[in-house]
Symmetry: D2
Subunit: 307 residues, 4 copies
């Protein structure tokens, strides 16, 4: 029976590129992990092994490094746009390019960061400490006509010590959970947001500013929401982004409920008035949802841990 | 501006359940990691925080353990079907359940395994060593009417020391790769296959036998294929499954090209006739494709690392 | 032939304890991972399986949580001292206790952190974001008479974009490396420092202040040193701590050389004037050394990744 | 105040080397991860940055690959001995070399492995699947006069479904654990064993056979022991090795107690007669001990996770 070749893509994944810009003695750093996936006329390579339409994955790697030199890296998004456009426009058999980028933030080892009066101003200009916290992400897709840009962040860990409850839920035969009127709410924020921009003729958003502002809105909404469920907190976070960032049409959040269980200290004759918690690993609740601007299409994939 | 709630789901992830069956002195073990995701009438909990339609994720966890006792675990697939049916049929607001399961294989510490003449037959009946190699996976989705079962495996690492070449590819300005007529081909197989079964009225496949046979076909096709590209090997592996397993309609493979670079020993006055390799971590090629039986729909998600 | 029981220890590892202190609406958080290891009269339990001298590891876990309530957690060090003293002094068969603690830092989601003018002052009092960056560590050992406190940090990633060279090294038959007069120097700092304090009669250091200052000195010395080798940078970092922190007698650093290789862009007709780098994973250089105050004993174990 | 340079070492870590041996069509594979650490006259490089005695870590990497060609890899131990001898004997400033090696096992994709009658005999000769299970390890240390060889394995996961109890332990104020007369006993075996061989004039053990036999003895003793505590099981495992392998003088085991908690199903009206367990991650008990042949020195480091 004949078999059909369905969706397929190939390319080099996890190209680690670091670019230094030297403005005199003041240096700047961009630290990216870039993955390329190309699709197009690839029937033959699958069926007969002919590589006549295949640009090697090694070449896609070389292109990442060459473009870092030729185009610089103003933002992960802009860099991904350069790359995606290049593959689709320069290689006839390639009809679609998807570029995924992770970005790791660095901050200067400044006198204040080091808590130091000794450190010289000149050192601050070329010395960095990795910021930790979230990984910034973006995914650029281009088919020769339309752009899709989905940016986001992974593993931004947040925690409220109060203003969270969980009550009034459904009880069935298997329910043993006690209602909680004051609990710790903690999660690793995994967020993806899709920009409305898709047309080369229109100006692109200011990617760096948009990222900083969106991140701030997510944190702010998490902190401000009195939470009756993690779903409610999620919806507030996503809505806050849509309400304040006109360049964004769709937000998806994946929020593991990092359970902090109040430890029962009664066997030891001790009270535990919301003081001492056991931070559990597995299992964990997982709350996921997409929130959209009215009229927008839902395009962010449902399972975004790998996005 | 009004915001729309799009796709959403929630549940308890990574419930680690181990079930022992004791046939007299001979014990059997099933070792699973079960994740539940439920969808349905969840507008209110997102918008107002009312939990009136929310079965707690803690209850979904309890259900996993109770069902391991009530229904046993014949196979991951059958266990997932029990769970998915329960959530959709017992809770009116829940319209769809998705159950993901990872399974870890164990083998007996047998005289042959231990290389021992000392070990007693009675020990072989209750002593196990974890098999390592691949993680078996399945995903069961049920909407009250139709079933979708996507099973698979992750991280089965294979390597051919010869019968692999890569030549005749496109060269552009950024191409520096030399053609290879005899190279190591190594990959971590990530496979997902979708069963044709979707209707409760029809008999289910024999899940355990189907898994064992599909795994064997993947290994066999990898070993037998003279490879002109990893895409060709991928297509052969997926086609072999479709050609031999009538119960399967669609296969998707994600194959990282685990590069083994021949080390240049010339500076040390040594030849390296395909003997000594550097096994690289990053970057790596990533080759992904879906292969379908004619007439089948493509339903396996494109990015399956997290599936 | 008789066999001898040598060094042995047991206890519960990785007890995750989170403690919240509520000063009115202003909350404080301590987030620890505590591992207990006890030694003493344990011959019988190894030889015959008699547990008559064995305090269960489960009890050591319970004690961690109870002590978080009874004694609070002023610092990881002080908390570890309470625990170690308890096990040795309350259980006759236990002669030595070692308590290892990892601490994860949190910072407030403050208006400045969130970049927000919307966030209310009240939210800042109970909302936190995990700081990322290094894990703080400590190891307390007590034998009923003397204390040993080894604190430190793991995975503080730092990078200098200039002021690093590597020249004038030994060349042998297998040397191909080119000398570098201006390279990126990057490392994950793993540091351990041993306090001079060992006697209950003497006042303890101010653990929190000492940690903050030691961390600052390490960062500062890394930034300020013009590096001819990573060994030299290591020695400067350790010496800076010993020169400025009288409470510390010994420092050990383990510094992986996170190689950033300048990419050869010549095949593409491009210069690469210290601009574009490939950040490699493996292999990596590993530079490790102990630096001591004169007269001090070397007691920090040589391989400290697991310490 | 003057500072003293204590123990220090440097070298290239995690050199991934794969060596293929081709006996006609039948190929053999060795897959290693090799880490070099050198010590000697290194005062100047730490104090002034002079590299005059420093063989670059890059050279140590090159040597690993060159030696895989020049000497082959009969066993990880033999390969490590070649490397350690080379560094100490060829470089005057280097007084001590430590070589650590991890080895990953592969098995053939054989007709029986693939469960296939289709696979051809010729494919079996060059196609491999990674075995999974434990990582084999060795550490070779040489100071120009004496050898020390500590081999072992990490992460061999084993489980007994019965013949394990835990009773008669100490109870204090913080004890809540219930005695168990029939429990699951599961652990990840981390084992290190030190060979008596240290003198170049004496014949070396048969490293490959010794590994296979020692591994078998550990598994066998785990399976056969009726366990009253994990300490007892540990002692039996180590003693079995010393009793049967005369070439080994010292064994250290680190055994995490991978807790499998019987789930309380009573709230759901279900019995749980040692059938359904929750496999927990953290915290875990950790049981560690050294067992020695009489008259032997204890030289295996106490904390061996990183060894």
């Amino acid at each position: 029976m004949p078999t059909i070749l369905g969706q397929n893509q190939y390319g080099k994944s996890e190209n680690r590129v670091v670019r230094i810009v030297r403005n005199g003695a003041t240096h700047h750093i961009k630290d990216l992990n870039v993955s390329i996936a190309l699709s197009g006329d690839m029937d033959e390579v699958h069926r007969s092994g002919s590589n006549a339409t295949v640009l090697p994955t090694d070449t896609t790697k070389n292109t990442v490094y060459a473009f870092a030199r030729e185009h610089g890296i103003d933002s992960a998004e802009q860099f991904g746009i350069h790359l995606a456009r290049h593959f689709v426009s320069s290689q006839e058999p390639i009809h679609r390019a998807r570029v995924r980028i992770e970005e790791y933030a660095w901050e200067r080892i400044a006198p204040s960061a080091a808590g130091s009066r000794f450190i010289g101003a000149e050192d601050v200009q070329h010395s960095f400490v990795r910021k930790g916290q979230e990984t910034r992400t973006t995914q650029i897709t281009y088919d020769g006509a339309r752009w899709e840009v989905i940016s986001g962040l992974s593993d931004l860990t947040v925690l409220n010590t109060t203003n969270s409850e969980f009550r009034g839920y459904v009880k069935d035969r298997y329910t043993t959970l006690k209602e909680a009127s004051d609990r710790i709410l903690a999660t690793d924020v995994h967020a993806r947001w899709r920009y409305g921009w898709s047309d080369d003729e229109r100006p692109t958003p200011h990617w760096e500013r948009s990222y900083a502002q969106t991140r701030a809105r997510l944190l702010e909404a998490f902190a401000e929401t009195y939470s009756r469920s993690l779903q409610q907190t999620l919806f507030q976070m996503a809505s806050r982004v849509l309400d304040t960032r006109v360049e964004i049409d769709e937000v998806r959040l994946s929020l593991p409920n990092k359970h902090h269980f109040l430890v029962d200290l009664e066997p030891f004759g001790l009270e535990n008035d919301n003081e001492v918690y056991f931070a559990a690993d597995r299992p964990y609740g997982l709350i996921e949802a997409t929130v959209l601007r009215e009229g927008a299409d839902a395009r962010i994939p449902v399972d975004l841990t790998n996005l």
